[in-house]
Subunit: 482 residues, 3 copies
């Protein structure tokens, strides 16, 4: 066999098609598992009285994203939307042409859509952690619709589509900036607008005074850490899909494969093709393993030095920080650099947690420190992979500048989205004063549930359920009455 | 390269073999995850006092199915059983011959067996949800053995094997009727025969009177909703295997691929083959995502209009209803049709729940509304994919008629199976009155555990364990005494 | 097409490369899920007061293993370490040369590393179950580092690397001996050195007297069985990766494929290659399903005969025993032999549990009975697959002898490692008496936490957290103070 190396036989091309599509499909399933991971992480890490509401938010936002990303988001991402035409007119997008001489193997369009849906759902869900425990469910679902239909797709288009303004300008392998930075800073905006949960800081800046003797609970403590820990494992597992799948998300240009040195041995040729196809993939998998391991040690060292108590939630968030940190760089880092990125990510996480605590911004499960702060910094850490003392600072500056722009865009668009949501909630309540949309007497902050609902817990108030009827002698089920 | 397009080179055929087997193996693993999903859904959605018993049932039935499906069920499915010969004689099965001119790429026999085992285990487990909380464990395991060895394989053979009577007559892509309808209606039969749990409706139709003051718990409330929600996510994740894997379960006929338009470009040829192999697969994945999303909105709308409380269990069951609804149609529906099917599935679920409540049939976690009612209706909804106002009603009628026959078969065979199980339990108890099979004084309904066992909880009575020793000051472990 | 069968075209070779690498990558992810499985199994199966500590141990040991296996363990495994050179000099390792005429398709080095990391992490974590509930966290992490950097790699090299002393001498398909026997016997050593938890046997051999009235809890009861059951499902799911992935871990020699009978039909040729590549894989998957099913029946029969109560923890451990039992033999056993191996594995598990109870060795979640005892016996059960009454006993003897050597090596090296850890803990405490390493007043057994810490629970003492704040009226979160 052998044949002319300049031409590619259909069997080989088919093999490449098959390989990348199978991996990307399985990666999409792994990323979809992250939805379950975020659900568990938030539910277990929050108070018992809001357990069902956390499940509700994390579950329904995936459904919102499924519908809105399919009809509005994905066409933007692929450049087939009116919005992108308008962006081109305004100069926010290019029109490039494919000039590759060789066959380009692309993903099946539906597989690509599924994979990108999983990304969009992750971006939306990241924000959920920062606003949970007090946000009105409709306001959050409105935010989810806007972010999956518009904000995330525009950013992803700009960075990853060859027609995007930042394509080739910054390096963000699997979305430290596009997914995590964007979502994390959006969460920060939400957390600031919503103000802290009652009882979180100094008893909620005086809010608590009128409620503290009402017999209601003010506990915001994590109520189920084992399920939270399982959530972190799901995220780690899902991240293999997140990063490994991204290796092939843009397709594969067969003409980039160098076959010159191995013409006479078919097994060497196949190996060369394979190594160029899968080699980077393997490296990504190893980096995605080493960085979170190292980040955990970073956080562990912090606890060792400062307090001699090992808070498991912070250690697990440390692993997530390491994963966010390597997400921008998993294709470029060597193993030692991956470890270094992990260690630095853990440190950035700790600093961001302290900042949030001092600034009295209530981010119940640490979405901003993990995804926002580390996500932004991860863009800059790409400079480490250059291994060049002169080029490094320039790369760092470029990455941090555009990364900050992306994060700022996320922050501002979340501010606008939540403000609109707040106005919509007001209108709904005014119009309504009805049994359909009755959130009780209006608080000043329309994004929030009422203080009464917050104190009693949204599970009882909005869902009519208790997450755990764990007493052997609990009263009978309150049946839904039809 | 290139070569004669009429002949298929071994590398290409190998690539197709490899692709479908890898996907079906991974799909089998995903479907096996559904066993864990059902376990969590049922355990969390039921009362604490039966948590371990629910785990026991869901765990051991998978083991029963593994053994019985391997030796009895799978040979029926493939047509290599004496039973099938008998069916052929009786006219319940055909003998067809393969007339395809081209190479047919089939699954490895063991991979196919594993995939089908996962289907059979799902069908059995669906029933478990409807009978849980009061069924005697042995009676349920007997049912599991009969269903995985006989009932499910006969139905699956009839619909999916080319020799089956309904092959080509009805369309049931991945088993809305064969798996979900069959299992759901079997569960309905079981739920009717067993009568409600004590305290479920009007205090159990008077049963409660003699027990209510005994100091025992009568709580049937869901005791761990977060783990139940995780179970629903596992089912959704597993469904990607369920539907996507089914694309290739029957193998792939290479001669069906049309290569005529693309003869001169090897990459176009490879792409054409790939798109025809994987294209439908991608569509299945997207439909399997959109339908549950839409179904959740359907149930959400119902809650918005009727009660302004969002019961998370019903919302999550709504997603499952959407998944059941698309299971028959995932290969045929376009995205808008998938959404429509999802919305209708959610509505059918809500109607079925109301029916079950009014009919006072106790189906603790809604197995019949989700799998039975929606499963049957999903068969009919295939008519929507024709997009033809004349053909539609005919297809609807055909699908619903044969679908109803399958469901009726499931209902009747479950009645018989449970009746036999009931007699066997009686014999065992009579023979025994022994320490081996001592279920205490015999109740009239031999399928059920005794009222004393039910009230105290099967965990303590049958397993000698409490699922949660969550008090920091709980007494020491009662060790097993050897 | 067709071509000369003696030469292998690059497309075909590429297809094989792609297939084995994709499966091994996905298998690695499945095995990594076992880390979450072990975490849940241990956490749920132990007392509430140590829930967070169990999560900590299982989470951080994976991170320790990631770092240490990458830099020290993997080079030993592949024979590229100074240690292996030294072993060669000492005669503990050979130098073999590859003499295969045909192309050998090997795994990508990073994919192989990831897969082997998952194995190493499993081996370390197995031990964790036996020592949990009283071991000082640092001592355990030290053990984890030594085992993943040194002990496991040396054993895996010896058995699986062609240069290893036992390569070809014993058959251990996916590590019943190398992973489970080694880890299980190491756990036994740890459990013996640590002595039982307070209150486990006769109130801890008198230890309890001074503490029993201190108002502290002495409960060692399993506190969350549903999450423990989910852990077992994760392990079963992960085992498909463990065994199925192992089919290809050593690469694939294309020259071993016999194509002679099928020269004229390209689809037959492709099928032949595929069956020889994947056929064994399918068999492995089926065996990995049947053995645990059978083992559960074995344990169930034991309960039926002896006590009429079905302890779910023992049933689930039975399934794990079946999985351990088939691990050495999954490639060699036929389905009936797999069932027989499962039944015997269940019996060995039960006997080992009774032995541990009588010997008053405290192995909280049964790591030794499941992994150690069954793992060793699984090596011997390979004799069943010979199906030869004369050869069988010889194979049994050989397998058991070398298997016992491996287990003994694990036992002794764990003794040494834990002894060194104990000395290190002593030095740290002496040096320290500091806030950094303050484990309170020194107990005699430096491997253990202090009795005060053990009684109050490590969650509060070492992590400052309670795993469940499940009361609706729990006090506010004790914030970390920065």
């Amino acid at each position: 066999m052998g044949g002319d190396l300049a031409s590619y036989d259909r069997s080989l091309i088919f093999g490449v098609y098959s390989t990348i599509n199978v991996i990307v499909f399985m990666s999409g399933v792994l990323i979809f598992m992250m939805q379950a991971g975020f659900m568990m992480l938030e539910t277990g890490g929050m108070s018992r009285k809001n357990a069902i509401n956390n499940i509700f938010k994390n579950f329904v936002d995936a459904c919102v994203c499924g519908i809105f990303f399919y009809w509005f988001g994905y066409p933007i991402l692929t450049g087939d939307s009116i919005l992108v035409d308008w962006m081109r007119e305004m100069g926010f997008a290019h029109t490039t042409e494919n000039t590759s001489p060789g066959p380009i193997v692309t993903l099946n369009d539906d597989i690509s859509l599924f994979f990108n849906f999983a990304f969009a759902a992750t971006c939306v869900t990241i924000c959920s952690g920062a606003v949970t425990g007090r946000i009105a469910p409709y306001a959050y679902l409105f935010f989810g619709a806007v972010f999956s239909a518009l904000i995330y797709p525009v950013v992803a288009f700009t960075v990853w589509n060859p027609d995007g303004m930042l394509y080739g300008v910054i390096h963000d392998f699997a979305g430290s900036l596009v997914v995590h930075g964007l979502g994390g800073f959006a969460g920060l905006a939400g957390a600031i607008m919503l103000r802290p949960r009652i009882g979180e800081f100094n008893f909620g800046r005086g809010q608590i005074d009128s409620y503290r003797f009402a017999g209601s609970s003010i506990s915001n403590a994590a109520h189920n850490i084992p399920i939270s820990a399982l959530g972190v494992f799901f995220l780690w597992i899902g991240w293999y899909g997140f990063n490994a799948g991204s290796t092939f998300a843009a397709g594969f240009d067969l003409s980039e494969i160098d076959l010159s040195a191995t013409q006479d041995q078919p097994d060497m040729i196949a190996n060369a093709i394979f190594e160029q196809l899968i080699g980077g993939f393997g490296q990504v998998v190893i980096n995605t393993t080493l960085a979170p391991c190292a980040a955990v040690f970073s956080v562990l060292a912090f606890f060792m030095v400062t307090q001699n108590k090992y808070n498991i939630s912070d250690l697990m968030n440390g692993a997530l920080a390491g994963l966010v940190g390597i997400t921008a760089n998993a294709d470029a880092a060597t193993a030692p650099i991956a470890v270094l990125i992990g260690v630095l990510s853990g440190a950035v996480y700790v600093i961001a947690v302290i900042f949030m605590f001092r600034a009295k911004i209530d981010d119940p499960i640490g979405a901003f420190p993990v995804h926002g702060a580390v996500g932004l910094f991860a863009g800059g850490m790409f400079a480490l992979t250059t291994g060049d003392m002169e080029l490094g600072p320039i790369v760092f500056g470029t990455q941090m500048f555009y990364g900050a722009m992306i994060c700022l865009f996320g922050f501002l668009s979340a501010l606008v989205t939540f403000w609109v949501a707040s106005r919509l909630m007001y209108v709904i309540k005014k119009l309504g004063n009805s049994q359909y949309f009755d959130y009780g007497p209006m608080p000043r902050n329309h994004l929030r549930v009422t203080p009464e609902q917050e104190l009693a817990g949204m599970d009882l108030e909005l869902h009519g359920q208790d997450a755990y009827s764990i007493n052997l002698t609990a009263p009978g089920k309150a049946k839904t009455t039809f």
